[in-house]
């Protein structure tokens, strides 16, 4: 509040009028990340309520917003909305004098876009607002950023958003930041700080960042960054909400909204950046950032949001030597060793000879003797019996680990899981009382999920946690029995299998540090890649004047695209064959492919023809003669489809050329049958004789090597020629 007033004073009295219509500073807090990286924990509890160094994440966000001078917060809840609302209602956030918290509940929002559209409909936002998610930890002051934002806004009404960024160089090996987020490429105008380019889900296969040449027309200099981190704290104008409403396909804040504004250049709206240097801001969107931010909190980077300064002054935790925090009422054995950077919540007892280091232990836990805990996050009311070993794991409320159980690096135990005696949970596995949902999503969800986080594993999880929860009680009894064997004798819980590619992600986003051998492996791969790209580099044009070089370059892109297109057409065709789809539908699908790849109908003809020939080839056949017969039947069956794409001679010639190419490259089996197939196509009226003759004439001038098939077809062409003369 104080900061806010200072800001006003700085701007000067000129805007007395504005002062009259002054609206309180508002914020939208999205209490749902619309992602599933914290599964299976988030099946039972919303992410914003997960404890972060023994306090729910949302408390950090709210405390920061309050200290930053925000007066009204709208908390948008969707998943587990009941829990969030209950928590907030019973918390001290309700009923603060100059800080109002309002909840907005939705049952069907599936993305940040939906949330913002809903909020727009409520007409509660009256001025500039702060948009954050409920998993943000920050201690930055908004004064400067807000001032810049307002000043820009006064000069240029198109400056709709200011994005907070922070210096953070991604690891050169894994290309991910310390917070486990993917590397981010940004282009920023160094003078105005306008954001010009944003690529956060970098295609690692593509070795270049491609900036539109138009960018340099307006700016003679651009800064390209790979060393910044997006804090996901945005200062937005009310227009942002209406933009989301106008563009109802915007789902994701960055991937759709930011990209949309930058690329599509809608109405010239601009996004600017504000870099913070000394203050802290981070978002927890995966287990790795959970680990990193927890450590930052313990090491007091987030001051005043640290364990011994509670949000409402009920200071029960004391800071001791070596960054160790202890609640006053813990039962600690004399022989237990508490290492550095450890937090122990109240009411926890720790047995003899137990060693704890770099860990957070919640309230009311019972930890036996000879237990070793390193780098773990143990939540409330957990029971760990004697002799357990835990390393870099997350253990949720109510978990029981029977004696001698071992958690390897990166394990996540969801609520109330019981691990049997002496059982070792394999690295990176996630254990929950819920069975892993099976893959049977609606298309829509799949698509969105795919867009939303790029994590493959989520594709296999339906988006209806509440329902599951209801089933829990009935299911539990059965499942406990079933699950028992999965996590050892007397245990309860299912080990979630990591779906394809998921293992790759496992180490990337787990709480455990990346093992050294993994790093070595990546480096090795990287050098291999480097060698490949090296070769690419040589193919790459020598640049500049040698026009063909640079043309070749873009050609490569086109060819790439074309290959994709070909594959898609082939897949479409095969589906049509197997599922007996009508030609009309295939035409529709191929047309839409053609449009999306921006190709011509002759390309479609080529691709379809290729697909047909491939089909014929893949059908089991004995002799070449049989193959020709298969070709004949396939062609006969799909003639109408092919013909649709052959409106003129040009397309037919394209088909011949394509066939030639196939004979030479992909499907050499046809090379001896070239003439036969050509004849067949002629007989079936796929190709007109003019097309064949034109092709022959075109080929006449080609190199000797190119004439291979022309020579084969010589007789046939001669015959055609004679036939036409006879007429």
């Amino acid at each position: 509040m104080v900061a806010k007033k200072g800001n006003r004073g700085g701007v000067g009295g000129e805007d007395a009028e504005e002062e009259l219509t002054r609206v309180p500073l508002q914020a939208i807090l999205l209490a749902d990340s619309f992602a599933t990286l914290f599964r299976p924990i988030t099946l039972e509890r919303p992410k914003v309520l997960l404890p972060l160094v023994n306090a729910p994440m949302i408390d950090y966000t709210l405390a920061w917003l309050e200290s930053a001078g925000v007066e009204e917060v709208f908390v948008f809840c969707c998943a587990h909305s009941k829990q969030v609302i209950d928590y907030l209602e019973n918390s001290k956030w309700f009923g603060q004098p100059s800080f109002s918290v309002t909840t907005i509940e939705s049952y069907n929002a599936t993305s940040a876009g939906d949330a913002l559209r809903l909020i727009y409909e409520r007409h509660v936002i009256r001025g500039d607002f702060i948009l954050v998610t409920g998993d943000t930890v920050s201690n930055m002051s908004l004064t400067q950023a807000l001032k810049e934002h307002k000043e820009r806004r006064r000069k240029d009404s198109n400056a709709v958003m200011t994005m907070v960024i922070k210096q953070s160089k991604p690891s050169p090996i894994t290309h991910q930041s310390r917070l486990g987020t993917e590397e981010l490429f940004m282009a920023i105008d160094p003078n105005t700080k306008q954001l010009l380019y944003y690529e956060d889900k970098a295609d690692t296969l593509k070795g270049t960042v491609s900036l539109d040449k138009a960018l340099l027309i307006d700016n003679s200099s651009i800064s390209l960054h790979n060393d910044k981190q997006d804090c996901y704290i945005d200062i937005c104008c009310p227009e942002v909400l209406s933009l989301f409403t106008d563009n109802f396909d915007y789902q994701h804040l960055r991937r759709h909204f930011v990209k949309g504004l930058l690329v599509d250049d809608i109405m010239g709206y601009k996004i600017f950046t504000h870099e913070i240097h000394s203050s802290y801001a981070a978002r927890i969107d995966n287990y790795r950032s959970y680990d990193a931010v927890s450590k930052d909190i313990i090491q007091r980077w987030t001051y005043p949001l640290v364990p011994d300064v509670q949000f409402f002054g009920n200071c029960v935790t004391k800071l001791e030597r070596q960054g160790t925090y202890r609640a006053s009422d813990i039962g600690l054995s004399r022989s237990a060793k508490i290492g550095p950077f450890t937090v122990i919540g109240s009411g926890t007892t720790i047995g003899n000879y137990t060693e704890v280091a770099n860990s957070v232990i919640g309230e009311g836990c019972i930890i036996g003797s000879n237990v070793s805990i390193d780098g773990c996050y143990i939540w409330d009311k957990v029971t760990i019996e004697d002799g357990c070993k835990l390393k870099h794991a997350i253990v949720c409320d109510g978990v029981v680990m029977k004696s001698g159980a071992i958690l390897e690096a990166g394990v996540v135990l969801s609520f109330k899981v019981i691990i049997g005696q002496q059982f070792a949970v394999p690295a990176y596995s996630k254990v929950s009382l819920f069975q892993q949902p099976v893959t049977q999503d609606s298309d829509e969800e799949l698509e969105y999920a795919d867009n939303s986080s790029g994590n493959i594993e989520i594709a296999s999880i339906p988006n209806t946690p509440e329902k599951l929860e209801e089933d829990l009680t009935t299911e539990l009894s059965d499942s406990q029995i079933q699950a028992a064997s999965e996590v050892g004798n007397g245990g309860a819980g299912f080990i979630w299998s990591v779906s394809e590619g998921g293992h790759e992600e496992g180490w990337r986003h787990s709480v455990a540090p990346i093992p050294a051998d993994r790093l070595v492996e990546i480096i090795k791969n990287a050098t291999d890649e480097l060698e490949i790209s090296n070769e690419d580099g040589n193919i790459l044009p020598p640049s500049g004047e040698l026009e063909p070089g640079s043309v070749n370059d873009s050609d490569e892109d086109v060819r790439d695209d074309f290959a994709h297109f070909e594959k898609e057409v082939e897949a479409t065709f095969l589906r049509a064959v197997h599922e007996n789809i009508k030609e009309d539908h295939v035409v529709l699908e191929v047309n839409s492919l053609r449009l999306s790849y921006n190709l011509t109908s002759s390309d479609c003809a080529g691709a379809l023809f290729y697909a047909m020939m491939k089909l014929a080839l893949d059908t089991p056949h004995g002799s070449p003669g049989e193959l020709v017969k298969t070709v004949a039947s396939v062609i006969a069956k799909w003639k109408k489809l092919l013909k649709y794409y052959l409106p003129s001679l040009d397309e037919e010639i394209e088909v011949i050329l394509k066939f030639e190419e196939m004979c030479l490259e992909s499907t050499k089996e046809y090379s001896s049958l070239f003439v036969q197939v050509l004849h067949l196509l002629y007989d079936k009226d796929i190709l007109q004789e003019d097309a064949i003759l034109n092709w022959a004439a075109e080929k006449e001038e080609a190199d000797e090597s190119d004439k291979l098939f022309l020579k084969q077809a010589e007789k046939f062409i001669q015959w055609l020629n004679e036939a036409s003369e006879e007429e």
Binding site: S171, G207, L216, S223, L224, T527, E545
Partner: protein, 462 residues
């Protein structure tokens, strides 16, 4: 200094027709009444770089240039003139004199550079980082006629003048990306690997590659031998080196140690250290960090090499005479805003009239003008912002503005010349009016004719 200088003087450049002719190759085109090549050679002389190889395309041009050099720089510079076949490109030219290169580093300068930027500064930047190549970048010159409202012209030039797109590291010492020629008009494609290694890259469109490079000799020779298709230093060799700086294919260390007669790593390392000390760099550059690989992990030897830049101060003059427009601009600037380059002493009226020149009554020669030796002007003439060569005969009532008139030109009474270039031995008969024209050597412009924006030249007898 262990630098060998190669001056690429070109030949009869096609882009400069009709200014160049059989008698006047590009390097001998006059800038304020002396050949453009003299500016480079004097710059070298001032920097104590007295050994130079001047490479000329074509035998006849080489003869012309060598005779001029020997007459002018006889005691001052040790210059060798070498002819190479035409159209071999800049890389081809250097390849052709490959065997003559002996020094550790080679400074390659374009013969059409008119600049006051000391090559020594480029050489120092090169040595400081032990770079394989150091390119000099200068600000894009303001082109176009300066009379029509200078601010307006500047804006226009700003839009049009795009020579290079360069990427620099935050310290502005290393070259991370360069696009030249046709690539400038395309989308900018920056290599992620380099961006990752540096973290931050500044992309600039307002800098121009001035075609003054320092190369490590062994590297330059390697590339020229390996990549036989490379024709241009600017468009191919430099971009290649920049592109491959983090995955160097050059046998850099090997070649070096051979040459220094020591293969010991210790010496090599101490050398790197020394270069760092010289650079006042408390931290190693990103190249070294990248080469060492991520801290503590299994060291994989990555070869890197450094491409450096020297960015000329904005206030320093730097331009290349590589187009007709540039010829006019440079002539204008050298007797105008950048007149300290011309080497002449200007009069109180800010012009130079040779003592032997004769000026008729009521004739005014304005500031930023030059009137060469033995030229005569009639009465009631007016000369503004123009260069007039030697032994010209100019009648009465002649107006010359923003133009260059070379030697032995005859101009009849009542002619008007604006924004034009008149080559040697041209005859302008009475009342000819030229605006924005180029008139080739020996051409005769008939009386009373009017030309605008034309290029007039005699039909070359091939």
């Amino acid at each position: 200094m262990d630098f060998q200088v190669v001056v690429l003087a070109g030949g009869f450049s096609k882009t400069l027709v009709p200014l160049v002719s059989k008698e006047v190759p590009k390097a001998l085109l006059p800038v304020a009444n002396r050949p453009v090549l003299s500016y480079v050679l004097e710059l070298l002389e001032q920097n104590d770089l007295k050994n130079a190889i001047v490479v000329v395309e074509g035998e006849s041009a080489a003869l012309l240039i060598s005779s001029w050099i020997s007459s002018t720089f006889v005691d001052r510079l040790n210059v060798e003139v070498t002819a190479v076949p035409e159209d071999v490109g800049t890389a081809g030219a250097v390849r052709a004199i490959d065997h003559r290169l002996t020094a550790k580093d080679i400074l390659v300068v374009s013969g059409d550079l008119v600049s006051e930027i000391p090559p020594g500064a480029v050489a120092a930047a090169h040595r400081r980082h032990d770079a394989v190549v150091t390119a000099m970048l200068c600000c894009v010159p303001v082109s176009g006629p300066s009379d029509s409202g200078s601010s307006g012209a500047k804006d226009k030039a700003k839009k049009a003048g795009r020579y290079n797109i360069v990427g620099l590291d935050p310290t502005k010492q290393f070259l991370l990306h360069i696009a030249a020629g046709a690539e400038v008009e395309k989308d900018i494609r920056v290599q992620k690997s380099i961006l990752r290694a540096v973290g931050q890259m500044e992309i600039r469109a307002d800098l121009m590659d001035a075609h003054m490079y320092a190369f490590k000799r062994s590297v330059l020779q390697d590339i020229l031998n390996q990549k036989e298709t490379f024709q241009s230093l600017r468009r191919e060799v430099l971009p290649y080196l920049v592109r491959t700086q983090l995955r160097s294919e050059l046998l850099l260390n090997g070649a070096q140690s051979e040459e220094n007669g020591n293969g010991k790593d210790a010496l090599q390392n101490s050398k790197i250290l020394l270069s760092q000390l010289l650079a006042n760099a408390s931290t190693p550059s990103f190249h070294e960090i990248y080469a060492l690989g991520p801290a503590g992990s299994a060291p994989i030897l990555r070869k890197t090499h450094k491409c450096c830049v020297y960015i000329a101060n904005k206030s320093k003059y730097c331009a290349r005479l590589n187009s007709i427009q540039a010829f006019s601009d440079i002539n204008r600037d050298v007797i105008g805003d950048a007149n300290h380059l011309s080497g002449y002493t200007f009069s109180a009226q800010n012009n130079i009239i040779h003592p032997s020149a004769v000026v008729g009554s009521k004739t005014t020669v304005g500031p930023q003008c030059m009137l060469g030796e033995g030229s005569q002007m009639g009465d009631k003439c007016s000369v503004k912002k123009s260069v007039i060569g030697r032994h010209c005969r100019i009648g009465s009532n002649v107006k010359i503005a923003n133009s260059v008139v070379m030697n032995h030109v005859t101009i009849g009474d009542g002619c008007s010349i604006q924004g034009s270039i008149i080559c040697s031995n041209v005859q302008l008969q009475e009342r000819a009016v030229l605006k924005d024209c180029q008139v080739g050597a020996g051409f005769v412009v008939t009386a009373g004719s009017e030309h605008k924006g034309e290029s007039l030249a005699k039909k070359e007898k091939q």
